[in-house]
Point group: C2
Chain length 256, copies 2
Amino acid sequence: MISKNELKYIQSLYHKKTRDKEKLFIVEGPKMVAELLTSGFKTKKVWTTNENWQKNYPDAPIEMITAEELQRASHLKTAHEIIALAQMAQKEVAGKVNTPHAPSPVGKLTLALDGIRDPGNMGTLIRIADWFGVDQLIVSEDSADIFNPKVVQATMGSIFRTNVYYKDLTRYLAESKVPVYGALLNGMPLGSFPIPVPMTEGIILIGNESIGISPALLPFITQAVKIPQFGQAESLNAAVAAAVLLGHLKIPSYRQ
Amino acid sequence: MISKNELKYIQSLYHKKTRDKEKLFIVEGPKMVAELLTSGFKTKKVWTTNENWQKNYPDAPIEMITAEELQRASHLKTAHEIIALAQMAQKEVAGKVNTPHAPSPVGKLTLALDGIRDPGNMGTLIRIADWFGVDQLIVSEDSADIFNPKVVQATMGSIFRTNVYYKDLTRYLAESKVPVYGALLNGMPLGSFPIPVPMTEGIILIGNESIGISPALLPFITQAVKIPQFGQAESLNAAVAAAVLLGHLKIPSYRQ
């Protein structure tokens, strides 16, 4: 059973302002909630239509609801069995919120995102960063909120495993003392310049979906890179480009 | 001005059945319609709110409409200036429809898609194939329709430049005489087996978003491949995986 007030409260968390104030975000579906319950994140409350959850997670704050109630709380077209409220990690713990001092990029592989607006892209980028073992994401303040429910879903659970920091990228890059690989359409084609092996330090900078990297950030790029174009498409999606770049930088090549 | 009947007709083209019968599909937005008008595809009709289109394309069948009429015809939340009806290419011309005889994969780079259901993924895959100069896409009959308006938009114009054939993949792969690279979570990691240079012949097989490659197709894979996983994410999105694979196969590596 879910009360009217609880329903209103959940719906209010679809707005960034309320999320930031309450320090809570919404997690939906069996896969995502299972990841939440076994992650380091604290779970505020869970509502489900399937009583197995209470058996499998006896210590979690789980309540039963009807399918109709679940659908009313959900942002998905078709709600899937379960919805939860999770607490944003404290900045001292996982650094998921803006910190006064940015973590240094020295000795780390960092993905820097400049104005990624689409929640689906943002979530996919977090998932890609998790796959390729990126140590941290530094995200410009005008990018999509990582606790937007659409971002959370698109990460497929990687939200619970990646370190994301919102930062003024101009200042961050100005102070960084590591190579900055900027994805630019007029950059050097991958394969035409040497990559350090193993690739364990550097910032990979990905720009906004339509306008690319901000002019203010260009002076900090130490290696402008481009994915070679073999056909006619004008561009690649920002998340796809990041994945190809990370694949090239991380995976050795073995040619006949 | 757009008549009620025209509006109904456009809306009927949001259904695959009508598209297949009428051999027409919908193209929206300035970028996509400009690509259509300069492509080899025939344009049946265009409606726009901006009279510059009539000046710039005097030979095209362009009519003026109001913003309200445009929004009613559009499938986008916010319609952008222009909507067009395009004719599907005849199979003799560009092979965009099912042909009795599949084009041979010999001497070509082919992307084979097994049960890609999400229109956004399908469109992104077509865009990726266009970027990497893939010669043709062979798509299983249960995959998303490439003329679905969401697919068309997600291709960002690559729909007009790629050769897509719907085929029974089991039969196609059984008859193919070229290497088949299948993306499998238990495949050989990229970088651990040799890649021919230049990489100009072979089939890259990508499976369904949740269940992967169908069991019936597994015997035809000559090289099972996997994108090395450096972090914790369980999987990559199908389009992202295809892009990393194509990047690895096509782009040479230069390491220090």
